[in-house]
């Protein structure tokens, strides 16, 4: 008797694209395995053309509500490099502190609201309240801290308003920084609760392995686990590539199964994100982050994509400890009121940061008046699409005998581990009224 397995998870609503999972198999023979991404075209690049150099970071902050600080920072760095504006050491440090707030905000949400329910075998964070209410409360506390932190440094929770080419329009007071530092120190026990929770359900993390290339920022001078400075590094390449040459890394191409661009470098796909950062820079983590990595069994060279969530957890500790040190550095020098200044020149350059989901590139060209002539943005999720497809191709034959439900659940869980950003275009309500 023939036995068919057909998984067709389609989530294409009228405007947003969410990514479809398609698996067709008959009698154990796999006919089709696809990660399809019907993403809207990248119209943001056209939108900034003709705009002034000091409007860009505000406009691109609206590309994504979860990664808005990352987009604004990558754009600001690119703009400054293109039009020739310098940034003070103080502004650079405060921007890094701003960047850390988004990493924590996004990681805590991803771990607490998407991944941990998976590990507990429940469909969302809501039923998790009954199973592990204290953990949910802990996640909410950490999320609140990260939001307050973004408010303080970026001017609001999402879509930062304090960034400006050449510096910042507003900085926190020393008292506010001391208060933030105290809160960061106090959140360490909460982080440990989340670690213990993940440890208690770690056996539910699928045991899957597919060696691939991992690409992230690498900082050599001084060596640091970086989210913000440095050049492009890879587990397949011993050197680093300057940011302005990012197109020789991403090698974007069009795949028949997707309207989003895909990327490849030394292999037919590469991965970006927390696991990529860990695999490139893990030895440079803060002490607590290293302890957590050891406790959860995360080692450099890990090629299980499901462990991306665990790498995010490790990074949370690094972010908290790194920020405590960063605030010490800022306070020891005393904060100075600085005014962004400088006259733009014509030029073209790229900027790069690690968004929570991986390395993010922005590139802009400006004329003599500082008007944007051209833009190019390469988001982490596009760089992960080919890698998700390759993961599917290896994972499906290993699990096809488990049946449709298990195949669907594990593939969805795999996609969740990457937390792709494929639906940031519109967010409108779609409602029916109760009669």
């Amino acid at each position: 008797m023939s036995k068919a397995v057909n998984v067709n998870v389609h989530h294409v609503t009228r405007i947003e694209g969410h990514g479809n999972i398609v698996v067709n198999a008959k009698n154990g023979r796999i006919e089709k395995v696809q990660w399809q991404v019907p993403e809207a075209p990248r119209f943001f690049e056209a939108m900034v053309r003709g705009r002034s150099y000091d409007d860009i970071q505000i406009i691109v902050s609206r590309i994504c509500g979860i990664c808005s600080i990352s987009h604004s920072l990558a754009a600001t760095k690119a703009v400054e490099a293109a039009v020739g504006l310098d940034v003070s050491e103080q502004s650079d440090k405060i921007r890094l502190l701003m960047h850390y707030s988004e990493q924590l905000q996004s990681h805590v949400l991803h771990i607490g609201y998407l991944a941990v329910p998976d590990f507990f075998g429940v469909p969302s964070v809501v039923p998790l309240v009954a199973k592990a209410g204290d953990v949910v409360k802990t996640v909410i506390r950490l999320h609140r801290l990260a939001n307050e932190w973004s408010d303080l440094i970026a001017g609001r929770t999402t879509h930062p308003v304090t960034l400006k080419p050449g510096g910042l329009t507003r900085i926190p007071s020393e008292e506010q920084l001391r208060d933030l530092q105290q809160k960061l120190k106090s959140c360490v026990p909460d982080l440990k609760v989340v670690v213990e929770t993940v440890l208690s359900v770690a056996e539910h993390i699928p045991n899957f392995d597919r060696p691939t290339e991992y690409v992230s920022l690498k900082q050599n001078k001084p060596p640091a686990y970086t989210f913000y400075h440095g050049e492009i590094g890879s587990t397949d390449y011993s050197g680093t590539i300057p940011i302005n040459k990012w197109k020789t890394v991403a090698n974007e191409y069009v795949s028949d199964q997707s309207t989003a661009k895909w990327a490849k470098w030394h292999r037919d796909s590469y991965a970006v994100g927390a696991l990529a950062r860990f695999n490139n820079n893990g030895e440079l983590l803060s002490p607590l982050a290293k302890d957590i990595a050891k406790k959860v069994g995360l080692k450099k060279g890990c090629s299980n994509p499901f462990m991306n969530t665990v790498a995010q957890l490790v990074e949370c500790a690094h972010i908290v400890e790194g920020s405590i040190v960063l605030i010490d550095e800022l306070l020891s020098r005393g904060l100075k009121q600085e005014k962004p200044s400088g006259t733009p020149r014509a030029g073209k350059a790229s900027g790069c940061v690690e968004a929570p989901r991986g390395i993010l590139f922005h590139e802009y060209e400006f004329d003599r008046k500082g008007r944007c002539m051209a833009a190019d943005i390469c988001i982490p999720t596009n760089q992960n699409h080919a890698n998700i497809q390759k993961d599917f191709e290896k994972l499906v034959p290993q699990i096809i005998h488990e049946g449709e439900d298990a195949v669907r659940r594990k593939l969805e869980m795999l996609v969740r581990a990457y937390d792709p950003c494929v639906s940031c275009s519109t967010h409108l309500l779609d409602v029916t009224f109760v009669k």
């Binding site: 609206r62 996004s106 967010h427 309500l429």
Partner: protein, 152 residues
């Protein structure tokens, strides 16, 4: 201390009428002195970040673009018990957003204790662009006055 009432504008200002909530709340922010107990917040496309913004408030008022089957440009007031969401979420990414589902989650997580009022505005044009459609742009004063009436 947090102000007891929050007026929260949602949407993506890069997608024309999708950003109407943000445009209205930006206009309302200029009236801040008249409403000392009200905080006007441009929450953009922050999705689940509204969980934090609404915590501990006596009342939250949302302004958002909404497909309601009404005439384009119409503004309609409703509460959570009056509307159901037609949106399908994948649960695979933090980047999808549905206010009604986020608020339902907030209630179940005990993060939402106060009154919630939603003002939906039916879009005329949802497409790439930073400008509102002519229809909605011309009605923005009306939308502001509707929210001010709610605050009386």
């Amino acid at each position: 201390m947090r102000r007891p009432i929050a007026v929260i504008g949602l949407g993506n200002t890069l997608m024309s009428d999708d950003g109407i909530g943000v445009h209205v709340v930006q206009r309302l922010s200029g009236l801040g002195d008249k409403y000392p107990s009200v905080e006007f917040i441009d929450a953009g496309t922050g999705g689940v970040s509204v969980l934090y913004i609404i915590e501990g408030r006596q009342k939250v008022i949302f302004i958002d673009c909404a497909r309601m089957g009404e005439q384009p440009g119409l503004i309609k007031r409703f509460t959570l018990d009056q509307a159901g969401s037609n949106k399908i979420l994948t649960g695979r990414t933090l980047h999808e957003a549905d206010l009604l589902k986020v608020l339902d989650m907030a209630k179940k997580l005990c993060q939402l204790q106060g009154e919630v009022v939603i003002f939906g505005i039916e879009p005329d044009r949802i497409s790439a662009g930073m400008e509102l459609s002519k229809l909605l742009a011309e009605r923005i004063d009306h939308y502001v006055s509707v929210i001010c009436d709610e605050l009386q």
